[in-house]
Symmetry: C2
Subunit: 271 residues, 2 copies
């Protein structure tokens, strides 16, 4: 089935299910770009559990370009001054981190400009482990989204749609980034999938790998379309095994430095 | 009344009120230090509103030592590479940020070691504006905590207790940091107040100023007692006018770099 046909199919399917599910009605993608603070649904009461979806990281944490993403220099010594702190050198797209629209567009929102309401999102987790087991460059395709909707209902307004490929478990190994022959190899989203999500009032996409695009991408098609559309992404998520496919709320602790193209973030989920 | 007498008075007062309020029962401070993930109460349903308690910041943001807390260097240029990102130099205790126990103790928890459950907290806001209007170095005292409890009920387990002195409105002016004669001058907590909070299963304290201690502190008494006790603090909060004195839940997006003594954080509240 062609991608356009799949998209139409999923949209028809979702419309037909709309009366069955209680999520907030989807509005337009423009509402996501403008911030959903006032439209944010009340939090589900949940169980009160907190999951940390963030890797602890340091200079050994894998990065896209292979260079350390963070360097430490002692700025104040506790023996001399009674307290201590570091001067850090941080490359913005390191560790568990945010891609702001500005990362791939000259006039996109910087990380401090992402509306706070878009940082509190219903979390939808697509299980990509079975596909990724046999293809290190597996992609979330529109059919995976359709399968998620069939199993879990409509994607809630303002959601974060993330995949769990099992890659977080590889973070301390070379396989997090490469195949044995040294080529990039890790799962990502397909552009057809994110084009579909862009019609669904989704605030952000999330991956448990180094990128939004798969490792063997030649054109960064997702980066070049999703981010310039005014939406953001999260890369390098951890701990997705702990949360349900539907029902958690994610808090995206994106940094707030002005002009930022993104940056290391603390991502927490309650469920 | 001596501080010890006030503390006893507040504790007796709170015990007598315990049957009147529905907050989770206080346990021991050791539970806070160990992490409250499993004991975290379910989130209040709330209205679904999100408040951003974080300042957007850059090199002009005021710092304790007067030097820029963040510096930017272009690492990738969008005209040359199709995307862009910065190499940042960040002094950990800059912007809206966390003080981890390690900041003032050699063996304290680093910022990545703070349990995730302690980063999701019921928020209690003490209004310090009236005192701060007449004394730039005003302090939260035990009596202010007693007054808050009288008005709002018991402090919930695992709370973040923050004060709103109105200082966030001064952030673009010299008065955020100094009196006209150049001395440090801003509100903070008194040690008597934080000693009391340490008996109440409070996870963290928060200020809308440059420090946990007031500007004219000679000994950093709060830093030197609260942090080594295994608890953390938040400095430089913004937006506290938007949230109620009681009833919001705060999400403390602390960074998660290993060995960190703290760092710039994204702090969100839902209410």
């Amino acid at each position: 089935m062609c991608n356009a046909c799949v998209i139409d199919s999923v949209k028809r399917s979702m419309l037909s299910r709309r009366s069955l599910f209680t999520g907030a009605a989807a509005t337009t993608a423009a509402v996501v770009a403008a911030g959903l603070t006032s439209a944010r649904p009340a939090l589900a009461a949940g169980s009160g559990k907190v999951a940390d979806l963030t890797h602890a990281w340091d200079s050994d944490f894998p990065t896209f370009d292979g260079n350390p993403g963070i360097l430490y220099e002692e700025a104040v010594n506790i023996d001399k001054s009674g307290y201590q702190l570091y001067k850090l050198t941080i490359f913005e797209h390191s560790g568990t981190h945010i891609d702001a629209p500005l990362h791939f567009s000259k006039d996109g929102m910087s990380v401090d400009e992402i509306p706070a309401g878009n940082l509190v999102c219903p979390l939808c987790v697509i299980d990509l482990k079975a596909k990724a087991k046999y293809d290190a460059n597996a992609m979330v395709e529109p059919a995976d989204i359709e399968a998620w909707v069939s199993a879990n209902g409509e994607i809630p307004a303002g959601a974060c749609v993330a995949f769990n490929s099992g890659w977080a478990d590889k973070v301390a190994t070379p396989e997090f980034r490469n195949t044995p022959d040294g080529n990039f190899a890790f799962p990502g989203f397909s552009k057809a999938a994110t084009d579909l999500l862009a019609t669904m009032n989704v605030a952000c996409i999330g991956t448990d790998t180094l990128s939004l695009d798969p490792g063997n991408s030649a054109d960064f098609a997702v980066h070049n379309s999703w981010l310039p559309s005014g939406r953001y992404g999260i890369e390098g998520l951890a701990g997705l095994d702990a949360v349900p496919a539907r029902g958690a709320t994610i808090f995206v602790g994106a940094p707030k430095h002005k002009k930022g193209t993104g940056g290391p973030a603390r991502v927490l989920a309650v469920y």
